[in-house]
Symmetry: D2
Subunit: 316 residues, 4 copies
């Protein structure tokens, strides 16, 4: 049985685990993330690998590393990772030199998406798009059973196709990007705007935020929606509709069998997915005759998914 080690390098901590071919994590380890020094980072990763191998007879087949930031198309360098304080860093070779095992590097979102595809809500299909609704909107494209990265490693930046001409400004410098409408930040902005414009309707959300619209945060919106608060449900309906429209656009282009929706906002489950499905069914081109893709909630949590996906990608 070929075991591999998966590593998830995040902005504050590195999580690693030994993973079996069925995607189960057998053993785990973690360490804080060193910032701004590629050698230290590689050493921290190598330390976790050593820790996981302690007492094991058999060497793992490979080490898969999912990292924050943008990875180049050869998957050996970090091009830019703002929250790691790194740019143009030869991360793969730095680690390989230390662990004496094959090392595969991948963007962390891709790694987590791959885990969903292989062992989570995407299993059993060959064409899927994994959409992660967090602060922004990220995505991973699986086409004919493979993760596709595009020519320059930047495929799946689905949060930055333009949804609305002259729409809300995005940190990427553009306007109207999908992630300004369908992300966790969008949910919060929706709730705050509602509270500012219609304080009576948003009384519960406002109360939880001490009366200040700007104090409203995502988890409270989710909680309120789960307890049936009409204002919170209205916010989820609005965001869900944008999610569904975006999936319809992706379906026109990619025609996948399934969409897997993960990230913080997806924790609300059907409260988000049901309006998304309805919007999707009303918006997708050719809807009278086409078979509609499934829209499912992600099943694995973020950190385990990152470890599992990185580990599994290391075998391919």
């Amino acid at each position: 049985m070929a075991l591999t080690i998966g590593v998830d390098i995040g902005g504050t901590k590195i999580a690693a685990g030994t993973v079996d071919p069925e995607g189960r994590i057998l053993r785990r380890a973690k360490a804080p993330t060193p910032r701004g020094d590629g050698e230290e980072l590689a050493e921290a990763v190598a330390g976790l690998v050593r820790e996981l191998r302690e007492g094991e007879d058999t060497a793992p087949a490979a080490v898969g590393v999912g990292t924050a930031g943008f990875v180049d198309e050869t998957r050996s360098r970090i091009v830019l990772a703002g929250n790691l304080g790194l740019a143009d860093d030869p991360v793969r070779d730095r680690i390989a030199r230390r662990v004496d095992l094959p090392v595969v590097v991948e963007n962390d979102a891709n790694a987590a998406a791959w885990a969903e595809f292989r062992f989570g809500a995407g299993r059993g299909c060959r064409d899927a798009v994994v959409v992660t609704l967090g602060t922004g909107v990220g995505g991973a494209l699986i086409v004919d059973g493979e993760l596709r990265r595009g020519r320059f490693g930047a495929a799946g930046e689905i949060g930055h196709y333009r949804m609305v001409p002259f729409g809300r400004r995005c940190a990427c410098g553009n306007q109207g990007c999908w992630e300004q409408y369908a992300s966790g930040s969008a949910l919060v902005a929706e709730a705050r705007a509602l509270a500012a414009a219609e304080p009576k309707e948003a009384a519960r959300l406002l109360e939880a935020a001490g009366g200040d619209p700007e104090g409203i945060e995502g988890p409270e919106v989710t909680r309120a929606a789960q307890e049936g608060d009409p204002a919170a449900l209205r916010c989820f309906a609005a965001v869900g509709e944008w999610v569904g429209q975006g999936l319809a656009d992706l379906a026109a282009i990619l025609d996948p069998e399934r969409f897997v929706v993960g990230g913080g906002v997806s924790a609300a489950g059907e409260i988000l997915l049901e309006p998304a499905r309805q919007a999707y069914a009303r918006a997708v081109t050719g809807r009278a005759t086409r078979r509609l893709a499934d829209i499912r909630q992600a099943e694995l949590g973020g950190e385990p998914a990152g470890i599992i996906g990185a580990a599994d990608l290391a075998l391919r």
Copy 2:
């Protein structure tokens, strides 16, 4: 040297040819398209195959058929082809039974796009999107060197992702589809609207149309633009900008190395492509650091491309 036969079934005629592995058409034949009868259609195709084999010693390796309409994901049936008068037709088996050769069926737009990828403006790269700007906007996705059809055979309907919320109505039943802004029809609509609103500025276009804005047609807009008419150039600039924006959206999702732009509107060449490139460079996410995809004009004409692409796909 393995020769194959490529067939392009259009609404009015069927064009066929013997094609060599370098994508050259060695011999051609054509026949009118029978309407509304799958058996007659298959017989017409078989007749062309026989005609092309006449006097040849060696049998072709296979027959590739590109057909108008929507082909199912098993590539054996025409799901719906309005202008052939066919629905749910087992076209592959009907032809195979008659020619006693392997038969491969593909959507005609995909076939032509594949020819561009293999032997035209797309050669030499592994990730490309071929965009066809005709009456509508069609597309074909080449990812990691393969034509990708999506789970249900409908990938590449890029003309029907939503560009503008509440935008212009599309025949598909939606609003704001990209093809309402970036197609040949959009170019004509732009010219007609300009002529209606600013007849002086559009004097030349109006004159060529006998004074009636609704009489303006695409070829005249192209001709006027080529001769420097400011109104026609303004129309191309507008459409080109929409083309560029759409390519930027596709780049965010797919990150291809190259875009190949074909179809009737692309005959204007740089008059269209230059504003498209500028809009692309201003609109693509991450433009400060990313490598920009090439945007090139298609090189093969429509009909030869259909024959060549179908022939080449038959070998895969």
Copy 3:
């Protein structure tokens, strides 16, 4: 008691009536509209005035004429009236010469709106906007109790402010005009698009149109909605929402006390007005604290309103 004569010049017929100061029509007359000849048109109007005066002892105080087309700011000339076949026609003097009475000319939409303001759904307020939802969207502004025509006589072209950047094309040459979303034509377009994209949902509408989406017409959509057909109600909800948004925009600019909604689409009454009111209440700026304007259905029919309004304006 000062009686006046009101005349409504439409594309096919001229309707005239003797009107008392309370806006009641005491006597009526009509004639076909001569096309393309200002003298004949004036003679036809004069003939109706003579007919109405027959047997009356007292001369009317004045003649008010509401006419199709665009009237200049001095209200003496028709600048352009396509469906009368007239341009730059000195209509007031032509008529005045014949009837030997003071003649006042007004655009017919303004005249009808004025009647609504004085004797219909607008009575009792000083600041109102009368919105006419017909083939297009027309409007009349009443500010501080007076009909306001703008500096060049073109105020109230509210159907042509831009609702959607790059939106649906308008006959005026622009894109995204309000009338492309909130008019009777918009209602029909909505129903046709729905029938094309979701034939099952629109079964009733399709059936009434013999199965062809393009055969669906406005009165049938209204009838179906009145009988509870969900597809038709969905169309009215969509159009009503656009109506409400437009009124919210007008409120931001003009802050009237009341909106009076007339024209063919308004015949559906609350089926249209209720979604309009809801959209208005959700969209108007400052909605948490501002007093919301009334939104009421027009009370007078089109032709009588035209006669009554023209007659009343003649006294001012």
Copy 4:
């Protein structure tokens, strides 16, 4: 010669002046604005009035007060003035009691706009819209020679009609308000976004801001544009286009003879107005035949305009 006293109550200071019938300020006085206490505020105003009357034989005819915040339709109370810390304050009576003269209260933006209309860039016409492009976008409607306030005193909130469906979020709780595109804040946001997305192009703007896009401020953008910096000019072109589109929308509704454009952004003069005029001419409905309204830069500075306008309104 009837002199009046005009008072401009701003967030930090109160400016007052004695004004003659030609709109000249003969004498001036100022004081800091007391916050949060209506009586203190009235006393401060009364103190300035006394100071201005000192040594004058003749009493002024009236006192006109322009104040920040929202004034009710009877023009006697401040409904809400956030930056004065006042709500529902009977400001007119508080002042009148102290100065023993007729007192007229008006919103400060309306007062300044009125001055422009009477003595500045709007003089000589009867129908004008004064547009103030500051942090937000404000406006004042002059129809048939009178300032129009709407039924509830809120007319002219032109910055809050919706320009873009689902557009940029506005502090008013809505999305896509005009002021998010055409204000000084919009200019700054444009410059910052440009600097973030295309740092090379925006090198000069970035340099002046110490390299941080978020450090870019309006005056520097204006200065850079005046010195020909292409990036700054691009920002003004973008904002100017939105200004022109908005004026075109207002023209469709109100058809004024003239637009007077004031506020901080307008200091750039033709750099802003020329793209605005071009966009206006391309966007206004009926542009092939209609007479285009003038678009002129405001002539009076903000504070004098506030004093002069308030003083002049006091006489009406």
